[in-house]
């Protein structure tokens, strides 16, 4: 178990954003968190990434309690995230953005008088990530001048440049044209394989993306886990479809997961519990 949340509650005053949420993320999984607006998805991501301290419950990453430890510490532990709204450095180039992530990963940020341009490892790693995400030809373009799809890619690419063990993506294809969504996801999962990512968690509204790429789907509703199951099981659950998924494509349009579990592990997975009962 790489990441585990146990009975998480998060209160904003009297408002209960998360109410007893439990989940676990296993090695090699691509897990999607879905739910209607206000279900608590972003709050859950913020709790899982140490930005928010849960009001009750605990979050364990690689066996260590990470509740509220903060983004920087969690990044060093091997967890990265991207944001629902594109987060870039407008006045930095694509390459500089990726270099910043590499510098941070290598712990070289406090080097006052070292030449960034002369740091071969930083340059090479940043260029490698740019190539992985198809951004090589835009390496010297300012981030703010990129098309929206490329901004989204850069946001995710910079998180990948940290070479994390697990990444949490908050709506990785939001604000991107339908035509670009699958292209972004293909790039993303390809890069995940290449850098040896151990797990991906995404919050996503686009059900084509969710069902096309996920090994497991966790449905949230009113701050609680409504279901935690495979895409096929979720699709077969009328209640989840009614509350969360809505009308969707036929099963035949599903893509095979391009981010499969390692050989032999998929068949050994525990069967998911009945929907609506899974609370860990």
């Amino acid at each position: 178990m790489i990441l585990e949340a146990l009975d998480i509650r998060k209160l904003y005053g009297a408002y209960v954003a998360l109410d007893g949420v439990s989940l676990s993320i296993r090695e090699g999984e691509f897990v999607s968190i879905i739910g209607p607006n206000g279900a608590g998805k972003t709050t859950l991501i913020n709790v899982l990434t140490g930005v928010l301290q849960p009001s009750a419950g605990s979050v364990r990453f690689k066996g260590k309690d990470i509740g509220g430890i903060g983004t920087v510490a969690l990044t060093r532990l091997g967890m990265a995230r991207s944001f629902q709204l594109v987060q870039i450095f407008p006045e930095l180039t694509v390459l500089e953005t990726l270099q910043a992530a590499v510098v941070s990963r290598l712990g070289r940020g406090a080097k006052l008088f070292a030449s960034l341009a002369a740091d071969g490892q930083v340059q090479a790693d940043a260029l490698e990530v740019a190539a992985l995400f198809g951004l090589s030809d835009k390496a010297h373009a300012l981030a703010r001048e990129l098309p929206q799809g490329d901004k989204k890619l850069l946001d995710v690419a910079s998180a990948f440049a940290l070479r994390p063990e697990i990444i949490l993506l908050d709506e990785p294809t939001s604000g991107v044209s339908t035509a670009d969504k699958h292209a972004i996801m293909e790039i993303l999962v390809g890069a995940a394989k290449r850098i040896g990512l151990r797990a991906i968690i995404q919050v996503e509204h686009d059900m084509d993306i969710v069902f096309g790429y996920s090994d497991r789907i966790i449905a949230l509703h009113q701050g609680k886990v409504l279901a935690d199951a495979t895409p096929a099981e979720i699709e077969a659950d009328a209640r989840v479809v009614d509350i969360v998924v809505g009308r969707r494509h036929s099963t035949g349009s599903e893509r095979p997961s391009p981010y499969p579990l390692p050989e032999g592990e998929r068949d050994n997975q525990d069967p998911s519990p009945p929907m609506g009962e899974r609370v860990g």
């Binding site: 903060g70 983004t71 920087v72 990044t75 060093r76 990265a80 995230r81 991207s82 944001f83 987060q87 870039i88 450095f89 407008p90 006045e91 930095l92 500089e96 953005t97 270099q99 910043a100 992530a101 510098v103 941070s104 990963r105 070289r108 940020g109 406090a110 080097k111 006052l112 008088f113 070292a114 030449s115 960034l116 341009a117 740091d119 930083v122 300012l142 946001d155 910079s158 998180a159 940290l162």
Partner: protein
């Protein structure tokens, strides 16, 4: 290629100024070089980290008073000792002040720095026995390179050895800052300036790096302050007054905070513009106010933005 050529020409011009220019204009170059050092540091905070300090005169004052105390009361006359001592004193003060201030951003950061500046100003003004109150204290002529330069009159000393010493300090400070802003550290500061939330998500400890930048800028300000005190031969509380902090922010805006050399150009323009305007018009602040308004509205890139072909336009928040 253009920048090295321009810099070489400027360097040659600076070396020739004491020989070719009237003494009066050479003495005007001294505050320019002192402020140049101050502004290099201030712009690390302003242009590269995105924090506007309205209290940096605090550190100019610390540098200047350190020089005055050392030369007048402690008998330390070697400027090679005075400048590091000024830097050290500023670092000691900046460590706790910065640690508190960098927890805040935007107007709150600006107001906190202003508040600390005013606390120090009041200390200088009211603790008469220690500081000389509003009369301040003398800054004796420092020795340069181990020499007292006794054969030189005050003017000859200032437009000769002291000019070249100040120029050497400015060049050294510029080279160091050039390295800093092009280092991994400088890149981290730029990420914080552009998007602190994203910077944090990439593992950049925003408060810590802001604190480092604050400390470095304070050290630069103190070294500049110590250089500034020698030509006047006296230090007083107005060095730490908030209008002085405003002036140096103005200089940065005048030159252009988005450019590495912009603040230096701003210091140069400010000193010579102030001298020119003051000689013909008593209400020089009226003119400067109009200039500031013009820059903010029509030339947010400052003089560098007007003269240089910019890589990208400066966006001014109208919110």
């Amino acid at each position: 290629m253009r920048t090295p050529v321009v810099l070489s020409l400027v360097g040659i011009a600076f070396l020739g100024i004491p020989v070719l220019a009237p003494a009066y204009y050479v003495t005007l170059m001294l505050p320019f070089m002192a402020y140049g050092v101050v502004l290099l540091g201030l712009n690390l905070l302003f242009g590269y980290t995105g924090l506007v300090s309205f209290g940096h005169a605090l550190f100019i004052g610390i540098g200047a008073y350190t020089g005055a105390v050392l030369t007048t009361y402690l008998g330390v006359r070697h400027i090679e000792l005075i400048l590091p001592a000024a830097a050290l004193a500023a670092a000691v003060v900046a460590a706790p002040v910065g640690a508190l201030c960098v927890r805040y951003v935007k107007i709150y950061f600006g107001m906190l720095t202003l508040a600390f500046g005013m606390v120090f100003y009041t200390f200088l003004l009211k603790f008469y026995r220690l500081t000389g109150g509003d009369e301040g204290m003398r800054m004796l002529r420092p020795y340069l390179l181990g020499s007292e330069w006794t054969g030189f009159s005050k003017t000859a000393y200032l437009i000769g050895p002291y000019y070249y010493f100040s120029l050497a300090v400015l060049v050294l400070a510029t080279l160091l800052m050039w390295r800093i802003v092009r280092s991994p550290f400088g890149l981290c500061l730029k990420t914080i300036r552009d998007n602190p939330l994203k910077a944090e998500s990439l593992g950049v400890s925003v408060p810590r790096y802001r604190w480092y930048a604050f400390m470095i800028s304070a050290v630069y300000a103190a070294v500049g302050g110590a250089l500034l005190a020698t030509p006047t031969g006296n230090v007083d509380p107005t060095l730490a007054y908030w209008t002085h902090s405003g002036n140096i922010v103005f200089m940065v805006l005048l030159g252009g905070f988005s450019s590495f050399f912009g603040p230096l150009l701003g210091a140069f323009a400010f000193i010579f513009l102030q001298d020119t305007v003051m000689s013909v018009f008593p209400y020089w602040r009226l003119i400067f106010g109009a200039v500031l308004a013009f820059i903010v509205i029509f030339a947010p890139g400052g003089l560098m933005g007007l003269f240089a072909r910019r890589r990208r336009p400066v966006e001014v928040s109208r919110a």
